[in-house]
Symmetry: C2
Subunit: 442 residues, 2 copies
């Protein structure tokens, strides 16, 4: 007896430079894994506990958000049209001084609901009060890699504290929850703190999720202050020896890219944030050419302002063409490869998620390409990159379980989440003079 | 007796540098115009033939697409990841040699259906077989400014022919259809043809819709070949003396902007096309500073690949920040002003559409901002620019008539349109050697 049969769908398969669409196939799910994929018509439906008829749908791997601060959705819309310095010092860091544990619990649920509705099944989250974030993931039924953000100003004891969080939640929720150490950035964590973070991560057998070289100004400031790029700082403090998710990298120099190619680092690209904050752009093409994995991300909703990986995919692809002055750069197969296998590699899960193949975890989304904005469907893959909206995602399966069916969430209560979040809007929106959790001065 | 009461909605009002949201108001519609706007609670519902309860919705002016080739939706997805030269010479212009009148009829309906679903109520369309396009607009119930595209190679008699189209359809469908002369571009129309087009347009009392300075390569080529920018060519041939919709302008020089500021020209900005084809970007901020009206556009779906003005709005705003290296450029109020009054001005209809005010045409969309990707709604205007998806548009009213209610199209038959369009997919996708409608060699 298998658990789930998804029948009658087209299936997206992504390779390094080519993409295939299997026509009319079935996906067999046993437990939390894909057991088999075969042409429709051979399955005995009585052998499955549940059958989904996915006629007219495209099945693809659940989308992966390789860098976010999901609970920040509670602040969205509160910091618009301001410089990156003001964004941190006058808005975000003052606002975050209002944060309480229960805000994270409800904010995480809100963001997870938004992501499920957009086909995002896995997220690398980097925030505060992460026990509450983990509880929300447990409830939502999705997959997450959670790191408790920390700064030098928290003191070295914070490394112990977040290390305990790592141990508490590693492989919880049937393995859906994994953990990571999350020092904030080289400009908010001094070398001693970075070294101690790396040591703790190695001791616990986990990786590091960190912001670095977010934009070129940071790189220049680091070079001026100490003669090292932020990436060289990460190397010297031992961070790069670990599996690292490096967020943004819009300020990477060619020598940084060469350096990263020698370490197990993946880079998270969140293009909408970079446009909105005029940060430049991750050198995606150059990183890939150097052999560095790149994944898609949204960053937090105060810069993005949504958590929509289809939008990140589209923007990333178009902006590579734009940056290189060539429409031939970042082809549709390469963009889809980044969105699936690239992001899975950044998460350290290349053999577990990001592909629909036997043995992979059953994180599957069904996308409806029948809308007027897709028709006539001359190219399914072009439509996936350039036409697909979050609202085209119909059904979402994570770890073999259905979390959204025909756009109805099965694990989260939207009305309750919205009510809870709206209750705190006024308190959360207050900005008090000189009350901030950090100062931005890279 | 009035015709329609839209009660209980928030209303977006856009000024040049600020935006207001009226809370809980009613919109009274008489005939095809807005009669009054007042706080909810004062209307006698028995005085209205129809009442829409828009509780929880935001009412805003119907979106305007200031430059498209709508029927090109039938080719979407057929020209990806190729240079602009190949896009024209190896894809688009060979593909368009397959075009038949009925393709335009069904393609226009498909594109109009997509646009209605995305809240677009008015389009400036520049294509072929425009009688069929006009029939589709008549049926859809939307508003359009239609121009029959022409090249020098069609001969001067084409100007007469498309002039007849102009006269045939001007102010048809209760004024919903207006017409314009549409010479393709300075690089496909010689000076004699441009002069004759301008003369005919003046004679007919209509404007000109033309591509020019689409990217910097065209400007350079024009300067090399004849010592004039494409904009100077338009000036010398008398085109600029007329009301002009100028598509793209990514190759505008500072002197072109100064020149345009002295003429009744508006510029249509279709940012997604520019990214996909690496064309640069319309200098929106500079044009506005010089007093030139700018509107939002999608261009055709073979470059875009959708007809989504919310996406154009978001991209335009973000890319101005990116281009100027400053998040403070192109604020939310200015972006919304461009999307509403700016686009209306480009269409030559600044006193008719693009605002919800008494006396304006009743082109109104109701947008649902209750989705998880908007919550909590700290800023309605931020959500409109950065969070809103086409799928958030619930109800669409054009010329006082409802064309979409709760996402159900009332004027067009989606199943029939898709069936008709799919029937011709194979024929339309053929590319035959040396069969093309033009050659791109600016």
């Amino acid at each position: 007896m298998s658990d789930l049969l998804i029948k009658n769908c087209k299936i997206l398969q992504t390779g390094a430079s080519r993409t295939a669409i299997l026509p009319q196939h079935d996906i067999f799910v046993r437990g939390n894994r894909i057991e088999a994929i075969q042409p429709t018509g051979q399955a005995d439906e009585s052998h499955f506990r549940m059958v989904i008829d996915a006629k007219g749908m495209l099945a693809m791997p659940g989308l992966i958000n390789t860098h976010s601060h999901v609970p920040m959705v509670i602040f969205r819309g509160l910091a618009e049209d301001v410089s990156i310095e003001k964004w941190f010092n006058d808005y975000m860091w003052p606002l975050e001084s209002n944060l309480q544990a229960e805000d994270v619990y409800w904010g995480m649920q809100l963001g997870l609901a938004e992501m499920i509705e957009a086909g995002v099944t896995t997220v690398a989250d980097h925030y505060f009060y992460m026990d509450e974030a983990a509880q929300a993931v447990e409830k939502a039924g999705t997959r997450a890699l959670l790191g408790w953000a920390m700064f030098s100003s928290n003191g070295l004891e914070m490394i112990e504290k977040t290390g305990e969080f790592v141990q508490r939640w590693q492989n919880a929720a049937n393995g859906r929850i994994r953990t990571i150490m999350a020092p904030h950035a080289p400009y908010t964590c001094d070398d001693e703190f970075l070294r101690a973070s790396a040591k703790k991560a190695a001791e616990l057998g986990v990786g590091i999720h960190i912001h670095a070289s977010e934009e070129m100004g940071q790189t220049r400031a680091s070079l001026e202050k100490r003669g090292l790029t932020p990436i060289q700082v990460l190397q010297q403090t031992g961070i790069l020896d670990l599996p690292v998710i490096l967020a943004h990298g819009c300020g990477l120099l060619p020598e940084d890219i060469e350096l990263l190619s020698r370490y197990p680092t993946g880079v998270a690209c969140a293009p909408k944030t970079y446009l909105k904050l005029a940060m430049g752009m991750t050198p995606v093409t150059e990183l890939r050419q150097a052999g560095v994995a790149v994944g898609l991300a949204t960053d937090g909703a105060v810069s993005n302002n949504t958590l929509d990986i289809f939008e990140s995919l589209r923007l990333m692809a178009m902006l590579q063409k734009d940056r290189h002055g060539s429409p031939e750069v970042m082809t549709i197969p390469e963009a889809l490869n980044i969105a699936t296998r690239g992001s899975a590699t950044v998460m350290g899960m290349a053999d577990q998620i990001g592909a629909l193949e036997p043995g992979y975890l059953a994180d599957i989304i069904l996308v409806d390409l029948n809308g007027m904005h897709h028709q006539p469907l001359h190219s399914i893959t072009a439509s996936l990159v350039y036409n697909t909206r979050a609202s085209d995602v119909q059904t979402v399966i994570v770890d073999g379980k259905i979390v959204m069916k025909d756009r109805e969430l099965l694990t989260l209560d939207k009305a309750e989440i919205v009510a809870q979040v709206q209750r705190s809007m006024e308190r959360l929106a207050q900005r008090q003079p000189n009350r901030r959790i950090q100062v931005y001065n890279p």
